[in-house]
């Protein structure tokens, strides 16, 4: 790498940082994020309030919950991070939490389990659990 390459690299890095500060850095997440067995611990540790939807492609009640989670992720943007964990591909975390039925929603406050909902429930029911992990 010669001198001009290094300079270019430096400019690119600064530009990227600037871009992140402008958009991604400040902007709150308003969509459910994909969570896997590998990223799960990181997600619940990094954010103070997290709700994880354990789901699978083959589960009809999971399809009922999905659009509600989408809307809640938007409405609670900046307050709660919503994650989706596909149990077909990620069984370890589900096992760790004794989950044997989906949909199951787990709620975490400061990395600690604070609530659990099993089965397809209306939005209001989910919101009651959310109040426990906010603030």
């Amino acid at each position: 790498m010669n001198e001009s390459d290094r300079e270019l690299e430096e400019i690119r890095r600064k530009k990227l940082e600037e871009l992140e500060r402008k958009s991604g850095g400040k902007k709150a997440i308003d969509k459910p994020i994909q969570v896997t067995d590998r990223t799960f611990d990181q997600v619940i540790k990094t954010h103070p309030a997290v709700a994880i939807d354990f789901w699978s492609e083959w589960c009809p009640p999971c399809r009922f919950i999905a659009p509600i989670i989408e809307v809640l992720a938007k409405d609670y943007s900046g307050k709660v991070i919503f994650g989706k964990l596909n149990v077909d591909e990620n069984l370890a975390i589900a096992r760790r939490h004794g989950i044997t039925s989906i949909p199951t929603l787990l709620f975490f406050k400061d990395g600690k389990l604070a609530g659990r909902i099993i089965g397809a429930v209306p939005r209001e029911h989910i919101e009651r659990e959310l109040t426990k992990i906010i603030g």
């Binding site: 699978s56 083959w58 589960c59 009809p60 009640p61 999971c62 399809r63 009922f64 659009p67 509600i68 149990v87 077909d88 069984l91 589900a94 096992r95 004794g98 989950i99 044997t100 039925s101 989906i102 199951t104 659990r116 099993i118 089965g119 397809a120 209306p122």
Partner: protein, 310 residues
């Protein structure tokens, strides 16, 4: 108030079929679905007795019905549940969690919910070993021991589905024979599903998750405890008819909506079809047939064509 010719409550096979017939007969048709379309049929791992489909998953079948229904012109509102019904007058009023609707006729096709056994441990271990949907939760029991409770086609298909995943499947039934089709029973035997006849599930025990089940042999009067990781409950179901009952529509003592051979309920202009009705056969085919009658009758009631016998 938004006005429709026909409002159908529920988007399972009965509701979707009524939607097809209602819309195709020219009625402005709305289907209200509390959850998502499909009903109980969507949870069936495999359906082998619906004509034209020697083997199809419940979800695939209801997706086809849904597509057909939409194509016919019926409108479907998901996640909208009926909060109240006033069917006393000529114009029927349907109140949901979102809106107030008027309709000339109503078809109740709200189906049934999963029946619970009401045994100790059932609530405590729900989602921790106790399940009501084999296709949803089967994957958690790969290589494990499970029990299926029930004696109908739902219990048999669930046991069959689980036999491909679990290391051991016991089907327990309180009688000495199943209600399920012989073809399914034959498959169960081939898959080495264990039958425990004359057996009641008395209690579910565990620590964190299910560890054992207390079984009672109702013929010998013996009690035994068996080690098990999962319990799938597929017993008689509960009709979703509370709103109908409140509106003064006759139901039987179990809550099923009483219908005559033309799918008429006790109230003029209100029809019912599918699992929610007193029809003792709870099949997709019968739900579809009942829905065709209900929608055709509703059309006659609203439009009074020359051939309609009121």
């Amino acid at each position: 108030m938004e006005y429709w010719d026909l409002i159908i409550i529920g988007a399972g096979p009965a509701g979707l079929t009524a939607g097809i017939y209602g819309a195709r007969s020219g009625l402005k048709t709305l289907i209200l679905e509390e959850k998502i379309p499909g009903g109980a049929a969507a949870e069936s791992p495999l359906i082998e007795n619906y004509p034209c489909f020697p083997g199809i998953s419940g979800r695939e079948l209801v997706d086809k019905m849904l597509e057909h229904c939409k194509k016919s012109g019926a409108e479907i509102h998901e996640l909208e549940n009926v909060a109240g019904l006033d069917v006393r007058g000529e114009k029927k009023i349907v109140k949901t969690n979102k809106k107030l609707y008027g309709a000339s006729a109503v078809i109740i096709a709200s189906g049934c919910s999963h029946g619970e056994l009401g045994v100790p441990g059932e609530k405590k271990f729900r989602g921790r070993g106790v399940s009501y949907c084999a296709i949803c939760d089967g994957a958690f029991f790969k290589g494990k021991k499970v029990i299926v409770v029930g004696g109908g086609n739902s219990a048999a298909t669930s046991a069959l589905y689980l036999s491909n995943l679990a290391s051991n499947v016991k089907l327990i039934h309180r009688r000495n024979q199943l209600r399920a089709e012989e073809a399914l029973v034959k498959n169960l035997r081939e898959k080495k599903v264990e039958f425990l006849w004359n057996t009641d599930l008395k209690e579910i025990k565990g620590e964190g998750t299910v560890k054992s089940a207390v079984l009672y042999d109702n013929k010998k009067g013996e009690i035994k405890e068996v080690k098990v990781d999962g319990i799938f409950i597929q017993v008689s179901e509960v009709p979703n008819s509370q709103f109908a009952k409140k509106a003064g529509i006759s139901t039987d003592k179990l809550g099923y909506v009483v219908v005559d051979e033309r799918q008429r309920t006790s109230i003029n202009g209100v029809y019912a079809a599918g699992d929610v009705t007193t029809c003792p056969i709870k099949q997709i085919g019968t739900a579809v047939g009942q829905a065709i009658i209900a929608a055709t009758e509703a059309f006659g009631y609203i439009k009074r064509p020359y051939y309609y016998k009121g």
